[in-house]
Subunit: 510 residues, 2 copies
C-alpha cells in the first residue's frame, strides 16, 4: 500500500507547514515540507509545545488555493495514489486509552449515581449475547474513528461462561472495521460487594464465579488465541483493580505479562470509596501496594487515578506508569478531578480515554480530550501550568502510544512509524473561521470534521464515512435490539444502597 497526501497542513515547532506525506509498506516513508524535505531517520514529531517566547504571527499562504477553487479529488501520479490534502490538517491518530465497549448498550439510561451504585445497575443489565458485544465494539470503534482515534483500549466485560466467545466477538469487530485494538479482558476474583468499604462491620461476600487459577488459565488461552500485533489485535492483562482483585490475581498477571511481553492495565483509585477500601485492605495506599507487588511499570497504564496523593504521584513517576485520564466519566460519576497537572509536573505520562459509554455517555475522543484539558484550569491558579492544545494532542497520541509500549511504532507523524493518522477538514463550519487549527480542533466542538482515517496504512474512513463496515446496518441492528425506556429497577442497587450511604456518611439511609 503506497500513497502520498499532498499539500496538507502539519504542525511543526512554532507553527504549521504545508507538506507532502508519503506512505509505503504501512509506514510513513517521507515527509516533504514545502520548503525542505525530511526523509528517513529525521524524526519530526507533532505536539512539541511551541516556544513560549515571542513568535511572530505565522501565516500559511503560498500553497493554499482559495476555498472555492475546485478541489483535486486525489488521483494518480506515475502509478502512485495521490490524495489531496488542501485545506486539511493531518495529525497522528489518538488513542482511546480506556473504554468498555459493551457499555454502549446502557448509555443514557443509568441515572446520576456514584460508581459503586452505578456499577450495580450496570451489572444487573449487562449484555449476555456475544453478538451484542460484536455490535457495541463496532459502535465504539466508529465513534472513536470519527473523533480522531485510531487505537482503542477495550477493557472488555466478559459474559460469564462465554468468556472466550466474548473476546472473539470484539476481535472480530475490530478486525472487520480495521481499528488498532488493545483488548484487556476485564478480570477479577472477588464479588461486587467486596468493592465497597466495609464500614464498622465486616461483611461476608459471596465467592466470585470463577477461581483465580481458572481466570489466569483463561487469560493464557486468550493470549494464545487472539494476541496478534501484526493483525492489529493485542491482548492486555487487565485485572479490574484493587477493589475486586486478590494479590494472587495481580501476581499471576505480572507473570503472564512478563513471560509474553504484554502490557498491563487496571482501574486505579477512581473513587473516594476505593481509597478508603485500600487503607482497610492493605494498611497503605493502593499505589504503594501495587508498587510492592510489582504491578507498576513502564508497560502499565492505569485508568482514572483520581485519589492519589503526592507520594503516590512520586511512585507513578518512579515506576514510569501511565495515567489514563477519563474526565467525562469522572464528572458523570462524581468521582472527582484527577490531579493531571501534578502528574505532568512530576513527569508522569498521561493519556485520554472515553471510559465506557454508560459513564460518558459517548465515545467521542475529541470531547474527552477537550474536557480533560480545560477541566484542570480550575485546579491551579497559575495559567502557565495549564495544558495547551498542542500538549493535548501529544498526550492523546504519543502519550497513548507510550502507555501501550508502542511509542516507537505509532503516536506521531514520524518517518518510519506506522501510518496511523487522521485528516481533518478545515472547511467544516466547526473549524471556521480559520484561526489556529489545533487550537480550534481541541478547544472547539468539531462536527463532521474528520475527513479520512488511516490505520496501519489502510484507509478506514473517507469523506467522513467509515468504509470498512456498513454503518447503516449497524444502526439498524442497534435499533432493532433495543427499546426506549424511561426507568428501570436495579435489584442490586436496592440491595446495597443503604450500606453505601452509611459508609459514605450520606444523610438518610433509605
Amino acid at each position: 500500500m503506497s500513497f502520498t497526501i499532498q499539500n496538507v497542513l502539519i504542525p511543526v515547532e512554532g507553527g504549521y507547514e504545508t507538506a507532502d506525506v508519503q506512505v509505503a509498506d504501512n509506514c510513513i516513508s517521507a515527509l516533504a515540507l514545502a520548503k525542505r524535505s525530511v526523509r528517513r531517520r529525521r524524526s519530526r514529531r507533532v505536539g512539541k509545545p511551541a516556544p513560549t517566547g515571542a513568535t511572530p504571527t505565522k501565516r500559511i499562504a503560498p500553497n493554499n488555493p482559495p476555498f472555492n477553487s475546485p478541489p483535486h479529488q486525489g488521483g494518480d501520479r506515475g502509478g502512485e495514489t495521490v490524495i489531496d490534502g488542501t485545506n486539511k490538517l493531518l495529525l497522528p491518530g489518538f488513542v482511546n486509552a480506556h473504554t468498555h465497549s459493551s457499555e454502549m448498550w446502557q448509555r443514557g439510561i443509568i441515572p446520576p449515581l456514584p460508581l459503586e451504585l452505578w456499577l450495580a445497575e450496570l451489572y444487573d443489565f449487562t449484555p449476555l449475547d456475544p453478538e451484542q458485544v460484536y455490535l457495541s465494539a463496532l459502535g465504539t470503534a466508529v465513534e472513536t474513528l470519527l473523533s480522531g482515534g485510531t487505537t482503542v483500549v477495550d477493557h472488555l466485560v466478559l459474559i460469564p461462561g462465554q468468556e472466550l466467545e466474548t473476546i472473539a466477538a470484539a476481535v472480530r469487530a475490530y478486525q472487520e472495521i480495521g481499528i488498532r485494538a488493545f483488548i484487556g479482558p476485564l478480570i477479577q476474583d472477588e464479588s461486587l460487594t467486596a468493592g465497597m468499604p466495609a464500614g464498622e462491620n465486616a461483611i461476608e461476600h459471596a465467592a466470585y464465579i470463577r477461581s483465580t487459577k481458572a481466570t489466569l488459565d483463561l487469560m493464557e488461552s486468550a493470549i494464545k488465541q487472539f494476541h496478534n500485533p501484526e493483525l492489529g489485535v493485542n491482548i492486555l492483562l487487565a485485572p479490574t483493580g484493587i477493589q475486586l482483585c486478590s494479590d494472587a490475581l495481580f501476581e499471576g498477571c505480572i507473570d503472564l505479562s512478563d513471560r509474553q511481553n504484554l502490557c498491563r492495565h487496571a482501574h486505579l483509585l477512581e473513587t473516594r470509596a476505593q481509597k478508603q477500601l485500600a487503607q482497610q485492605k492493605y494498611g497503605c495506599s493502593a499505589v504503594k501496594h501495587l508498587q510492592q507487588i510489582g504491578y507498576l511499570s513502564s508497560k502499565t497504564s492505569l485508568a482514572h487515578c483520581v485519589w492519589l496523593d503526592d507520594s503516590d504521584i512520586a511512585i507513578m513517576a518512579e515506576t514510569q506508569s501511565t495515567v489514563v485520564h477519563n474526565p467525562l466519566s469522572n464528572l458523570r460519576l462524581g468521582s472527582g478531578i484527577a490531579p493531571i497537572l501534578k502528574y505532568r509536573e512530576a513527569g508522569v505520562n498521561v493519556s485520554f480515554g472515553c471510559d465506557g459509554a454508560a459513564s460518558n455517555d459517548s465515545q467521542d475522543l475529541l470531547e474527552a480530550i477537550k474536557i480533560g484539558s480545560i477541566l484542570h484550569n480550575i485546579t491551579d491558579l497559575d495559567y502557565r501550568h495549564w495544558i495547551t492544545p498542542r500538549q493535548s494532542v501529544e498526550m492523546a497520541s504519543l502519550g497513548g502510544a507510550k502507555g501501550l509500549n508502542v511509542a516507537d511504532e505509532i503516536g506521531s507523524l514520524t518517518v518510519g512509524k506506522k501510518a496511523d493518522f487522521v485528516l481533518y477538514d478545515l472547511t467544516s463550519l466547526s473549524l471556521l473561521p480559520r484561526t489556529d487549527p489545533i487550537g480550534l480542533l481541541i478547544l472547539g466542538r468539531p462536527t463532521n470534521a474528520v475527513h479520512s482515517v488511516w490505520v496501519n496504512g489502510r484507509q478506514i474512513v473517507a469523506e467522513g464515512k467509515v468504509k470498512t463496515i456498513d454503518v447503516d446496518d449497524l444502526r439498524r441492528e442497534l435499533f432493532d435490539r433495543s427499546e426506549w425506556t424511561s426507568k428501570r429497577q436495579s435489584p442490586m442497587v436496592s440491595e446495597i444502597e443503604a450500606h453505601y450511604r452509611k459508609v459514605m456518611n450520606l444523610q438518610g439511609y433509605s
Copy 2:
C-alpha cells in the same frame, strides 16, 4: 402557518408518550397523546422530574413501526401539512442564554489564560467591520440551532464609533436565519484596566471612550430602532458588569428597563479577581451592591455567578434573579465551578449559555448543557442532589425562558405557547441503541441528531440542514476573511500581565 407533527415521542411525567402535535398561528394548538388528548388550557410541560419512587419500565411500542420501514416524508392531510415524527423526539427549544457572537472570529486562537488576560488579547484583535458581526451572528445562530437552541442571548460587543451599525448587523443576521434573539449591546463606562484589583497602589485608568450619558442615549436609540418582540428581536439592557461599570450606568439601565419593560443582563462574579475588586470598590459583595442599587429582579439574568457565597445566593433567590451557567467558559478560563447545586437548592432559576466562542470555543448548546449538568456531581457527595437529564432539559428550556421573562410564551411543549421546538432523530448512531432518549441526548454526544427546528412556528432546520440561509456561502465567507495562524502577540497582555501576576500572587512577575 398550520401543521401537525404526527406520531412523535414527547416526554411526559414518568416516561414518554407518542403524540400528534398541532401548530396553528405560530403556537401549539393541540397535543394529542396516543391514549388521550390534551387541548387548550391544559398545560403539559416537559421537564418535570420523574417521580423518585419506583416506576415500572415503560416501553414505547404500539405506534413505532420498525426502523427500516419506509418513512412517511410528511404530507398533506385534508389541506394541512403533516410531518412524520416517527422515531423522533420533540423537545422545547433551548435558550443559549449568554454568548458574544463576534468572538467566533477568535475561537481556537487565544492561549490558555485567565479572564483578565484573555480579555486583553480578545480586545486587541476584536473585529471592526459590521459585516464580520453579521457573519459571526449567523455562525452563532447555526451552531445554536443545530444543537437544540431556538433562542440566543447575544451580549454583543460593539464596534467603537459604529455602535448602531453593529447592532443592525446582528439584527439582520438573526432575522434572516429566523432564530429568536435577545440582543444586549455590551456597554461599560470604565477602561479595561479598571477591571482588575488595584493591589497596593491605586492605578490611574484612562477615561473610557464614551461617556455614561452617551452610552445611555445610545441604548435609548437602540431600543427605539431595534426592539421588536413580534419580529423575534428583543433588546436587553446589558452593562458588562460591576468590574467596568459605574453605578450611574447601572441606574440608567434600570430606569430604561423599567420604562420600556425590558430585561436586564450582566456578567456577575466570573472570577476570583472580580470578587476582590468588588470588595475594594464597594466594601461589600457585588451581589449586595447590585441589590442595593436595584439591579436585581425577576427580569435580570446574570452570567457566570461563580464566586457567590451563601448570603449572595440568598439575595439571588430573594430577588428572583436568574443565573446563566457557562460551564465550558468557566473551565477554559479557569474561573471556577459555579455553585449550581446550591442555586437549585435555594430556588434560584438557572439556565445554560455557551458564552462567546473565544472562551468555549464552540456554540454547541448540548455540550454546554452536558458539562453544566455533570460538572457539579463532583461538588456534592450526595448523588440525590445531582442534576438529572430531565432537569437539565427544563433548565435549558423553561429556565432560559424565565430568565428572559417569557416563560408564558416559550420554554415548554404547552398548548398555547409559541411553536419553538426541536425534533431529534433517534436513529442517529449517537442516539443508539435505544435507551432513555433524553438521558442519551443530554449525557451523550449527539452528532447530526437535530432533524428539524421551528421558531415561532416557522421551520428553520429540516433534515438536519438550515433552510433559511446558505450555510456553504457562510463557510466560504468565514474562510475567505480569515487565515491560519499559530501565534500572535497581544500588546495589551504584555502590558498588564506583570500587574495581574502580582495582584493574584502568582510566582514570577515577568
